[in-house]
Amino acid sequence: MNAARENILARVRAALRVTAPPPAAPTGQPVFPPVADPVARFTQELTAVKGELVASLPEFLNSFRLIASSVDLVPGNASVREAELGVTGCECLIAQTGSVVVSTRTSGGRAMAVWPPAHLVIARREQVVPDLAAALALLQHRYAGHWPSQLSWVTGPSRTSDIEKTLVLGAHGPKRLAVYFDA
């Protein structure tokens, strides 16, 4: 397919001999209002997207029999495929959107955070960053050139509104997403 590559790039270069006029320059004003208290905002946003904040870990774990885990705090007793709950760490948490960033490095690979019907994230409060820009800057700094093969910004449980715009949780991924702050 090298011919296709050369042909496409040749057409692109020929087309770009003339540059299109640039759009009006941005003013530099902030697009989003500032985030004042990241942890409080994260909690508020997480709840708004129907995520749960776990107060008592033993109580939460009590309702699950088969657990797959990639963190030391919660011992696992099941494989990812049969687990009712996947317990993972995370890269960071984002106050602006209530998102949890999981990656293959922090979350036991790809499936553990998405295949089991429930997902529990064990995190520390200092992992909360104000916004998406801060999260991407942090990861860029952490991994420049050596990114994990996959990362996901997870905001609430899996959901769909495909049928009559009615919100249903647990479309394909976890029906429940919970966050526990270990410190």
Binding site: V12, P30, G109, L132, Q140, P148, S149, S152, W153
Partner: protein
């Protein structure tokens, strides 16, 4: 009249008169607009966001050669493979060939307009490879044998009852009135497919040049399962999806989510950069990116319309369009429907067959007003009309310009139009001829003011006309019509 135009006219007429269809669409789009209005409060300055995205996409598209090569280099460095496809057929053949070489029997598919564009599923089916759509909406479409109705919400036109009937017929599921129960039926079915598929095929919302990653946006989790469980992951990526830096996503993600559904950010946004790495417990053994041209370089070569490639496929212009809301998504018979579809389809698939599309617009500009990357969509629709305007159209508009640039001719034209109703059959087939008052404003004015000027007004105005410049047809459209070459 060619076939696409005949189909369009026929289906648009049917849908426009279908009141059930209209009620469903109005309800769904009403909910969408309410969600977007609520979401707007999250922004301090939405327009600044649009300006920034427009600037990033301008940079990406106007230096596309550089960013494409950088992206391809980085995918290779991450352990992935890059394929280049000049046409949709080539792209489908690349994936088919790969599936054959690797002994693939079943493929799970994420929702991707690009794979619709290259007709991947029929191509695979013809070769005996089953490809299962895993997005709930697309799954319903596949069961019904219908194309998606909307680029973001594929079954926007169906009610719960419609979906239940489809599941009863195709899956033998019990009837239900609950959207939740319907979703769970699909979940149970598709989980089996995820476990048994050999290959997962996705599109990409963005391709990051700096890191060689693709970004995928979804709510359901099916895309994550598609690129997590099967042993091969293939992503079909239009060459216009490039963004320079990973940091750019900090704004693209929330703006796309807001325009697409009114969400602050879509349920899951993923970055995938390669196959499973050493030390990772799972993930595919192979990662392939198919970079697709399929007419995009034709649009790129058109400097005046190049910014139509900035589109991030949020679907906002569809929801805003009075024509889309009346005729629905199927009447277009295109992969990309609505205003942006009418802009890009003639470029991607040929002007001759699709020249009618830009006329599926009132040119009201609602599309441009909601566009998160500031594409002047309605101006491109007008430009598309110019691109294909035939001799008689040009002549007619010249005649019109000649008429309205002279007061006397203008007056006589007015008098003629007052009694032209019965002759305008083509126009009045689908519209009312506006009832004209008995006398014109000019006549009325003259009666009120029998001797306002020392000179007869026509003579006076004829004098004025000689010293004023001829009127233009609106600022942005000046003088391009005749001289444009393409």
């Amino acid at each position: 009249m060619n076939l696409p135009e005949q189909q369009f006219r026929r289906d648009a007429a049917v849908k426009a008169g279908d009141l059930n269809h209209r009620a469903t669409i109005q309800r769904n789009i009403g909910l969408y607009h309410a969600a977007v209005a609520r979401g707007k409060t999250r922004f301090a300055d939405w327009n600044e966001g649009r300006a920034r995205l427009a600037q990033v996409k301008w940079d990406a598209i106007n230096h596309l050669d550089r960013y494409l090569e950088q992206f391809a280099r980085n995918v290779l460095a991450n352990g992935g493979h890059v394929h280049w496809a000049e046409t949709g057929d080539q792209a489908a053949q690349i994936i088919l060939g790969l599936a054959r070489r690797r002994g693939v029997r079943k493929i799970v598919k994420a929702k991707s307009m690009t794979t619709e564009e290259i007709h991947l599923v029929p191509a695979l089916a013809a070769a005996g490879i089953q490809a299962v759509e895993t997005d709930l909406g697309e799954y319903i479409c596949q069961l019904r044998g219908e194309p998606p109705y909307h680029i973001v919400t594929p079954v926007m036109h169906l009610s719960r009852q419609d979906v239940s009937r489809t599941f009863q017929e195709k899956l033998g599921a019990p009837p239900t009135d609950s959207a939740e129960e319907l979703t769970m039926i699909a979940r149970r079915q598709l989980r089996q497919d995820f476990l048994t598929a050999d290959m997962g095929v996705t599109g990409a919302n963005f391709a990051v040049a700096e890191t060689g990653q693709i970004a995928l946006t979804e709510n359901e989790g099916n895309i994550r399962l598609t690129f997590s469980l099967p042993r091969i992951h293939v992503a079909v990526v239009g060459i216009e999806k490039l963004v320079p830096r990973v940091a750019d996503l900090a704004l693209f993600w929330p703006m796309l989510a807001h325009s697409g559904t009114g969400q602050a950010i879509t349920g899951t946004c993923s970055l995938v950069g390669g196959p499973r790495r050493d030390g990772e417990p799972d993930g595919p053994e192979e990662f392939h990116v198919v970079l697709l041209d399929n007419g995009r370089t034709r649009l790129l070569a058109d400097v005046a319309q190049r910014d139509a490639l900035h589109c991030i496929r949020c679907g906002a212009c569809l929801n805003a369009c009075p024509v889309y809301r009346t005729i629905g998504g199927h009447a277009y018979h295109t992969t990309y429907m609505g205003p942006i579809g009418c802009v890009i389809t003639p470029h991607l698939r040929g002007r001759d067959d699709w020249a009618h599309l830009p006329y599926a617009s009132s040119l009201c500009g609602a599309c441009a007003e909601v566009c998160p990357v500031n594409i002047p969509v309605h101006r491109h629709l007008l430009q598309n009309r110019r691109n294909t305007a035939g001799g008689w159209q040009r002549l007619a508009f010249k005649f019109w310009a000649w008429t309205v640039q002279d007061p006397l001719r203008y007056r006589w034209a007015g008098k003629f139009l007052r009694c032209a109703g019965p002759f305008a059959k083509l126009w009045t087939d689908t519209r009312e001829w506006p009832a004209a008052p008995a006398q014109s404003f000019r006549d009325w004015w003259q009666k009120q003011n029998p001797h306002p000027n020392p000179l007869p007004y026509t003579a006076r105005e004829r004098g004025l006309k000689k010293i004023s410049s001829p009127p233009s047809l609106g600022g942005e459209d000046q003088g391009e019509g005749e001289s444009r070459s393409s």
